[in-house]
């Protein structure tokens, strides 16, 4: 059995106007999980429970084989966490922050920290108040990475970054994965980032887990088909196929259960399949949210 970096069983957390509703999830060691969902879906709440900032009401969370929150001291040694709303002290320098984190992390690796300063093009004596948004994000990431955590949990690591900084950040994340036993959980509004570097894609909407699957088979199961429907033919009822609105000869079908035989099914119904197109994660994301909320796409 592969070791799980993360295992969530029926995780629950209720707020007055939001409920995390029984999340079950597994992240095998050495892989990257991209968490996507609309604003307020429960991504941040889930991550906060994993790093001990919030305590769940029900269910279990195992991080690197240890139970949260009861084993949180041991867990925090091996986890690196950075979140988009994390604030650094404006008046203090980057070096001051590094010394601070170093003083509480026995595994702090100063050589690695120096290498990260170089790669992120950061000056340690600069005060936080003078940094650009991108430099702040990179400084926060440096503080999360310098003790070489086994599990990296990042809430929106690339938001608001220019293309160069985004490339540096993604590159650094991929570098973490050169070690086969290190894992990453990250959330992003940028579906392109998620599509690019995740091994597993997890959708959350309104506190519920909609889907958690390996990326390749997931993307592969979705297709958009462009159909030419003669007036004599009618659209067949096929499992997992949703037809777009429209009444004319040219119709569009979307499916999350694509297989080559589907094309034949259309042809034998007298319908010409003009093209079968792969979909981007963004398109799939929208279709999934619509599907789970019962809104026609």
């Amino acid at each position: 059995m592969t070791t799980q970096a993360l295992r969530l069983v029926g995780l629950e957390k209720a707020y007055p106007d939001f409920k995390l509703d029984g999340i079950n999830l597994e992240l095998p060691e050495g892989s990257v999980m991209g968490l996507i969902g609309p604003n307020g879906a429960g991504k941040s709440t889930t991550m906060r429970i994993l790093v001990g900032l919030v305590q769940q009401d029900g269910g279990q969370a195992f991080v690197l084989g240890r139970s949260m929150p009861s084993d949180q001291v041991a867990v925090k040694r091996d986890v690196g966490f950075a979140s988009e709303d994390m604030r650094l002290y404006a008046q203090a320098s980057i070096r001051w922050h590094m010394d601070f984190v170093r003083s509480i992390h026995p595994d702090w690796d100063e050589n690695h920290a120096q290498a990260l300063l170089q790669r992120f093009d950061l000056q340690p004596h600069h005060k936080v108040k003078g940094l650009s948004h991108g430099q702040r994000v990179k400084a926060t990431l440096l503080l999360a990475l310098a003790h070489r955590p086994k599990l990296l949990i990042l809430d929106e690591p690339t938001v608001g970054l220019d293309p160069v900084a985004r490339h540096e950040v993604l590159g650094e994340l991929m570098d973490v994965l050169s070690d086969t036993d290190r894992s990453i959980l990250f959330s992003s509004q940028n579906t392109q980032d998620v599509e690019q570097i995740s091994d597993i894609i997890t959708f959350i909407d309104r506190g519920r887990l909609i889907e958690s699957q390996d990326k390749e088979s997931y993307l592969d199961s979705w297709r958009r088909l462009r159909l030419e429907v003669p007036t004599s033919a009618s659209l067949p009822e096929l499992a997992g196929v949703v037809y777009g609105r429209g009444k004319g000869t040219l119709r569009v079908a979307t499916t999350n259960r694509f297989e080559p035989a589907m094309t034949q099914a259309f042809q034998s119904a007298g319908i010409t399949v003009q093209s079968v197109e792969p979909m981007t994660l963004e398109e799939i994301f929208l279709a999934t949210v619509h599907l789970s909320r019962g809104v026609p796409g």
Partner: protein, 132 residues
């Protein structure tokens, strides 16, 4: 040594990323840049270099192996196959698919087989000049 730098992905390419990696590797092998028997970058190395997920590269390698372009040995990683002829087979299949599609379109346009053949020869001559 087969270098990860030989592979560059495009965001405007409509193909999934694993297919882009496959296409590029097939070209590199067909042109001899990656010689028969040459060691491939490891899956993780290539993933880190291209900044794409491990599972994407793994899938590309699996399908390349299925098509007989590379071989993977337990503990030794992947390498380009020894008999280069075998790796051209996927190209033949791909060509056939394109020709079938062209024939269908021609029929729809009411083109005779001769007319289609004539156009094909013309295009062939044009591209031959371009690549010279």
């Amino acid at each position: 040594m087969a270098l990860p730098d030989d592979i560059v992905l495009s965001q405007t390419d409509p193909r999934p990323m694993y297919q882009q990696i496959m296409g590029r590797v097939k070209q590199l092998v067909a042109l001899g840049d990656w010689a028969p028997g040459q060691q491939m970058p490891s899956i993780r190395q290539l993933a880190v270099a291209l900044q794409v997920s491990v599972i994407t590269v793994k899938r590309a390698y699996l399908e390349l192996e299925r098509e007989g372009v590379i071989v993977t040995r337990q503990g030794k990683g992947s390498m380009v196959v020894e008999q280069p002829g075998a790796s051209l087979r996927p190209h033949r299949e791909e060509l056939r698919e394109h020709l079938v599609a062209a024939a269908r379109l021609a029929a729809k346009l009411g083109m005779s087989p001769d007319e289609l053949a004539e156009q094909l020869v013309e295009i062939h001559n044009d591209t031959a000049e371009d690549s010279r």
